[in-house]
Subunit: 331 residues, 2 copies
């Protein structure tokens, strides 16, 4: 018996968001009960379109998708990262268009509704900027006591940033929202570049996806071609990180961390060169991170095992029909 967790996924789909979504749909530990989109890699609207198309391709068109915030809490959407994800967010691959519609509620409203529906059980996997989560905290101040945990892909603790020397994209796109999310009184895990940049998918993995008989792995393999070309400029060879699927796997408890200290973390919302940085207080490093007062943010720095084999195994596993799926939280 494994426990299956109800998951709310907040995403900006995105090539690695697509990997995370496919991973969660295939994982026996997860039941995706709702998805909200936010502007980041692409606009919230384009991300929603990609999410609907991917769900349809996966035979999971019944998973509700809510449109979330187009603009960050302060300022306006920066226009995404077409040089990383392609102009359509999925590496210029044309996915079959889903006929499904978006939910009538906003992403923040969906998160609040699901948190009330599954009190103490909902796990939030946030793999885009944190605007929707911040809005949900405003809608329902009791949200932190309603959700089981929040896992955020973002930040850079002792690793370089990716959008500035010190800031990671998901935080930099909406530092004000990230500051609210990291300050809220919930069980929050940060999955920063420290660990995601060390988790690499190689060309052999991509070829395995392309060789699959199932449509979702094949589509992922195709979109990864674009992503690999971007990361060739970073790593010097065609490959990619697994930012978002790693955060998804950590959210459902499918992978073990080797080092994940609980530290104080603050988001830089200044207009200085530190804007968007997650200033994690890692000063306990030299003594094995002894407990410190006020520390509440778990920062994943390393994993027990390489993530790629688990991701590949899950993505290439026989599809579990959503209808056959009985989550443990169904009473």
């Amino acid at each position: 018996m494994t426990t299956c967790h109800p998951i709310y996924l907040d995403c900006d789909t995105g090539i690695d968001d697509a990997l995370a979504l496919a991973y969660l749909l295939a994982s026996p530990l997860a039941s995706v009960v709702g998805i909200g989109t936010v502007s980041g890699n692409v606009s919230a609207a384009v991300g929603a379109r990609n999410t609907l198309d991917l769900l349809d391709l996966a035979g999971a068109a019944d998973v509700p998708v809510a449109l979330g915030a187009h603009d960050p809490l302060a300022g306006s959407f920066h226009g995404g990262a077409p040089w990383v994800h392609g102009s359509n967010g999925v590496g210029e691959v044309e996915l079959p268009a889903s006929g499904a519609s978006l939910a009538a509620e906003s992403a923040a409203e969906m998160l609040v509704r699901l948190a009330r529906l599954y009190p103490g059980e909902l796990r939030v996997a946030a793999i885009g900027p944190l605007t929707n989560l911040a809005q949900a905290l405003r809608l329902e101040p009791l949200l932190p006591s309603l959700v089981e945990s929040v896992t955020v892909m973002g930040g850079a603790a002792l690793a370089p940033g990716n959008i500035t020397p010190v800031a990671a994209a998901n935080i930099w796109h909406d530092p004000e929202a990230a500051a609210l999310v990291l300050a809220a009184d919930w069980d929050v895990t940060l999955v920063p570049l420290d660990v995601t940049m060390a988790s690499v998918l190689e060309e052999t993995h991509r070829q395995s996806l392309l060789a699959s008989s199932a449509p979702v792995p094949r589509a992922l393999g195709e979109t990864l071609g674009y992503y690999f070309r971007f990361y060739e400029g970073i790593y010097g060879r065609p490959c990619s990180t697994m930012h978002d699927p790693l955060a998804a796997a950590l959210a459902v408890g499918a992978v073990k961390t080797a080092l994940a200290p609980v530290v104080r973390a603050a988001v830089d919302t200044s207009d200085g060169p530190g804007r968007g940085q997650t200033a994690c207080d890692m000063r306990g490093l030299y003594a094995g991170y002894p407990p410190v007062g006020g520390a509440r943010c778990r920062v994943v720095r390393s994993l027990e095992d390489d993530f790629a084999p688990h991701l590949m195994e899950t993505l290439l596993s026989p599809v579990v029909e959503p209808a056959e799926f009985e989550p443990a939280w169904v009473r």
Copy 2:
């Protein structure tokens, strides 16, 4: 034949500054031609007092010492770090009082004078806040073309800060000065916490200093008792880093670096949580730091060899009388 370099030392003496000073006086690669003090670990005046006393103890009372800036470029001196260095800066050890006087010039004036005296040859080792160097840049805009190199102990590239989660003390004490120094067009090397926190002096080393028949190593061993107690809270055992002597050794070329990429570096002078951070652009990490346009700051991340044996050997070597010493730069 080894080349002996004329060195201007800018310091805030300080227990590890004392180690750096003793190291430079004992090194056959260095001829200390002038010393300026600045507020940091202690006030500039207390640092000058300690420097004169140490020089006298080392039989080097002829090395000129100039008082430098008491206050940073913006704001005022924070009061030092008595919990690290003791209220007198040398771990509450009473050094024999020197009868020597301070130079009539300021530290910035001394640096400019020495740079003109040894054009293209002077090496600057800056192991305190960078106020004096910034003032010297204002006094003599051609300073960058006059000095051979500048080696700065400070910053944190991919390591935690020590005075805030992201800032190292020497930079945080005067970020505006550090910004000017890192922006100037000279050969600048940053010796950050990344490498200094990995260079540790143990209790056995301290005992060797205490067992010396020479007064300087014995005094250093005594002062280190206080420093070790502070660092016991950081490392979980009595020991200490070698921040300043490591920067001094790198300044004279006595130790080899294993990894020292040349990157873009900016100092955070905002009032946000990043204030005092050296935002080094380490994004080339994953491809072995390929050359990037505009990169001018060498950031030492690791050494070829453990620094402690070299430091100990130099500190415990027979004293070379300054008078017997003929630097290569004497024409």
